[in-house]
Symmetry: D2
Subunit: 333 residues, 4 copies
């Protein structure tokens, strides 16, 4: 029973079916009809004109998004626990040509305008220090917390006031939207977000994320950088097909709601042990080593996070029997 | 009737079936059993211990291969028409941190030891000039010519004598092996090749190439660079599955033979018009604009290459009726 | 008797004296009065508002100039013999983050609009190829030829028409201006040049070149890149002092005229042997190995350039006795 | 009366005289006799075979040193207040191709093996995180503290045990050696240091630092990187001359002792106000805004550092009258 990562989940049937449908000869790279329809599909979803590019991984989406806004002698403000800082082996540095990541503070890997402002203010405005050019926040955060539209908008206002770009790592954007029940627009461009790594892989896709630019002109150079990075797939129609299949009939929301609900059920059983509120599909639970071992002995797989804390992640395809069993097992500890 | 690129081909049924079989929850990134079996599968195929990494594109494979052998202040010797120089938007420069590509000469995008040696000798051995650290050749070449094991070995000997690494861009390695009927080992490590971008996508895969290191120690840092480039897919088992499905029962050879045979058939009809011998699955044909238009009017799609020359590419799935029709149409011009 | 490089020359007395005068405590980096006066001094010289930065080497000036106009996924058009391509160990690639150099053709390392246009036209306008973003020409060229204002203006018009930046490597800009007797403005911004590496070191300086931006807004990010490259000297006033000393009383022109006159004298004696017209301070002379040896036996030092051709360079401080002796020795061959 | 930076100091007479002596035509770049003698001079000083390269700035020395030990996908452990992190506009990131700086903790910008070990241990040993490849410490630190040979050796032992390189930013190495009275070898290679940025500029030089490799093989690729960065000066003999002039007769020690003694005098007067022990030539003093203003009203120039703290730096050429006056003024506050 896997609760260690939503990356380990299966691919949802709508995506598998779409791969089959896409399997006839077609124009290469992103010259096919499916790829060409992405801009329109996401413009409809967000209610504004966007440019949308498929890429194979969230790391690529994040790094390309940052490279569109940050020059090599500049910096990105993010949380110390942000995926771009902690888990991408320096991808932002690679794609930007060596920009620096400035680490702001906030509980649960969540930033606010005060923390970001303090981080930016720690830098003198002279050529001896790399100057911030963008902010990157993760929604839902690496600890499963969700920024509300108002919280994002406060950061967006700060970004605008200081002339900084605003990127959202939305590897679990679907879970955030599902949790909030808000319009995708409210959580993104209406709140000042310039670019969004819209994740599909953890949520039932195979190998396709959408990089959304709410300022479409940022996409132009990005198309070259995507090619240069080896991320312009020659049979790109299969990447587009995955994303479109999940947009259709709101599969992305259905899947995210399922994962969130599973997490809520477990959280309810673990209420006294929670490190943070469970707002999306991740649950950080305080367990003694003996308790963790006891759960593992019952077949539950998960990561130790920090001493005394484990991470449980519910996937879109988590069987309800597994969820019930884990909730019960935790309650019985 | 598409003859413009083997990138436009469909995905072969064995690959589609393998994707379905791989679709259950599993360990993320390359921690799954399929990914772990790649080293062994390719070591068996090549008859020597290799390290094998999946990546999503040939461009990524090539660039990672070069970054493993070339530092940013060094250079790669390749042909002016090499894909890495002409069609990857500077991916080698990106992955190596700004190495230079030194362009050697040879007909049909094919190099030999003399041309490579002359290119290397054009550089003074001082710090004012970037010094070559590797050679990259493409087999089959961008003009569809095939290096024989002896031809590769001559270049391999030169590389060894000068302390240069040797990379083979094998986007159509399968077509070359199929054409020669040789052992894969003879065309690679036994001939001095250090790393091989072993292409599967043009030959019936979806989005997975194998990067093979015949000096397995080169793979170590490459694993970090792959992650850093956003090419460590979180559901990597689907990439491994594609490759393994094509290795099994020599599907890769079957597909390549099919494409080669189709090309040979057309070449036979176009004998007097060929720019180069047709050794793999690409045919460069001299056509007047009127002749090209006449073919297009009959429904054949292809690229104009240079004035008076068009490129025809046969895919693994090219219907024989299309092949017969094109051969006939050319013969009738 | 050194005729191998103007880099080997001494430092002119005005510069040495200026170093002495600058030697009192002052504000660090470029916060001192001398550094602050550079913009004004060059704006006066060029008759337009410019931004001027000192750097320690011509390579740094060139690379910073290109980095201001060319992104990492783009390209620079230059001559195959250009210093930036042949003698800077990949500095443009380093500073731009891996841009490509596209090599145009022209006799004597001199380009024209036709050759540049042909080079640019060889690239398809798609994301698979790096697109040119700038042109770099060298005046005087690596073979001692001088672009006239009209010749530069023709290239400037091409650059403007195609949306390309235009950089001039002016390591020997002084020699070019001295040879032409024109206004510096006519050879630079009035002819469409966006940035100029204005050389002082070969012409009597110690370790200071001026990087001139005729579009001053390009200097802004360059100040950060200069710092990041380790070229913002902490005692920068000594760099500024060198340059200002050579601007004062037109020392830069006096020195260049001297070197040019010496070269003209030797060229006159070598008229039948010249590879190119001698327009500045370099002389490329056809000599048999025996003839070259004979000259060396008389104490003349110079470089073999290509088989049968040697390069002679006259410095600003070349003793007239040495010049007369060399002219005579060549005449007597 | 300037106490704001030793970068603002004058150039010592021995260096000025050496520049004059070097001013005759000679071989360019580092082919001259002075440059060639650097290896020997520093090998003598350190009592072991070293490779020594001149560069124009401490930032260049540091960045080149790190690039010799750290690949782009790796990391450097340093203090958050280290010059390489806080004051070089990302030079280490630029020269390494985007390596990450991992920030360890320690009072007074001073690290120890425990803090470094904790920083290294915070990283999982997998491809998702950049792995440290080197440690960089500053001696004397940015807060004027001095590492003893034993303290460095403890860090050197840690570096060796973990397979990390050890770099010392010695912008004020002279002040540290002068303070300790130890052999330069004890503070460097005998304590496990692999490379040292040996500063001369703050200590009376003009624009030349020595980059010392105690593992001389590291210098090989560095020579290319130096050229590529535009730091191979064409009249390099003037850089070598500055350094040699300060090595001769231990001018470097004399100058550093002078600066240290001046700082000690002021520190004595400010004993109750010191933020840190004054071990070299920097003094961090707690002053109220009113007190700082009072000193400034008397003509003393210095930087505010953090709220309530100012930084005073004594230069090698600080007039004793200024030192006495400042000590007195502080005592009278």
């Amino acid at each position: 029973m896997r609760f260690f990562s939503d990356n380990a989940a299966s691919v949802c049937p709508e995506v598998m079916a779409a791969l089959g449908r896409a399997n006839s000869p077609d124009t290469a790279y992103d010259g096919d009809a499916l790829s060409a329809s992405l801009d329109g599909a996401f413009s409809d979803l967000f209610g504004t004109q966007v440019a949308a590019l498929w890429v194979s991984s969230g790391t690529a989406a994040n790094a390309l998004a940052l490279a569109a806004m940050v020059q090599s002698h500049q910096a990105v403000i993010c949380h110390a626990d942000a995926h771009i800082q902690a888990d991408e082996c320096g991808a932002p540095e690679f794609y930007t040509g060596g920009a620096k990541l400035m680490l702001a503070k906030g509980a649960g890997a969540k930033l606010d305008a005060v923390g970001i402002g303090a981080c930016a203010d720690s830098i003198r405005s002279d050529v001896h220090q790399t100057q911030p050019a963008a902010i990157s926040i993760t929604n839902a955060t690496e600890y499963g917390l969700v920024y509300t539209p108002d919280e994002v908008a406060a950061i967006g206002a700060l970004a605008m006031a200081r002339g900084l770009g605003l990127h959202m790592d939305g590897a679990r954007f679907a879970n955030a939207v599902a949790a909030l029940g808000c319009a995708p627009a409210d959580l993104s461009w209406r709140a000042g977000v310039d670019s969004l790594s819209f994740g599909f892989i953890k949520n039932g896709g195979m190998a396709a994320e959408a990089l959304i630019f709410f300022r479409p002109e940022l996409a132009q150079a990005t198309r070259y950088r995507r090619k240069r990075a080896g991320h312009l797939l020659s049979k790109g129609r299969f990447a587009a097909a995955q994303i479109l299949a999940m947009l259709e009939n709101d599969v992305w929301l259905r899947n995210a709601r399922g994962a969130n609900a599973a997490a809520a059920h477990i959280a309810n059983a673990a209420r006294t042990r929670l490190l943070y509120e469970v707002e999306a599909n991740e649950i950080f639970v305080r367990l003694t080593p003996a308790e963790a071992a006891a759960l593992r002995a019952q077949g539950f797989e998960f990561y130790d996070w920090t001493p005394g804390v484990v991470r449980l992640v519910c996937s879109w395809d988590q069987p309800s029997a597994e969820v019930d069993a884990l909730a019960l097992a935790i309650a019985r500890l």
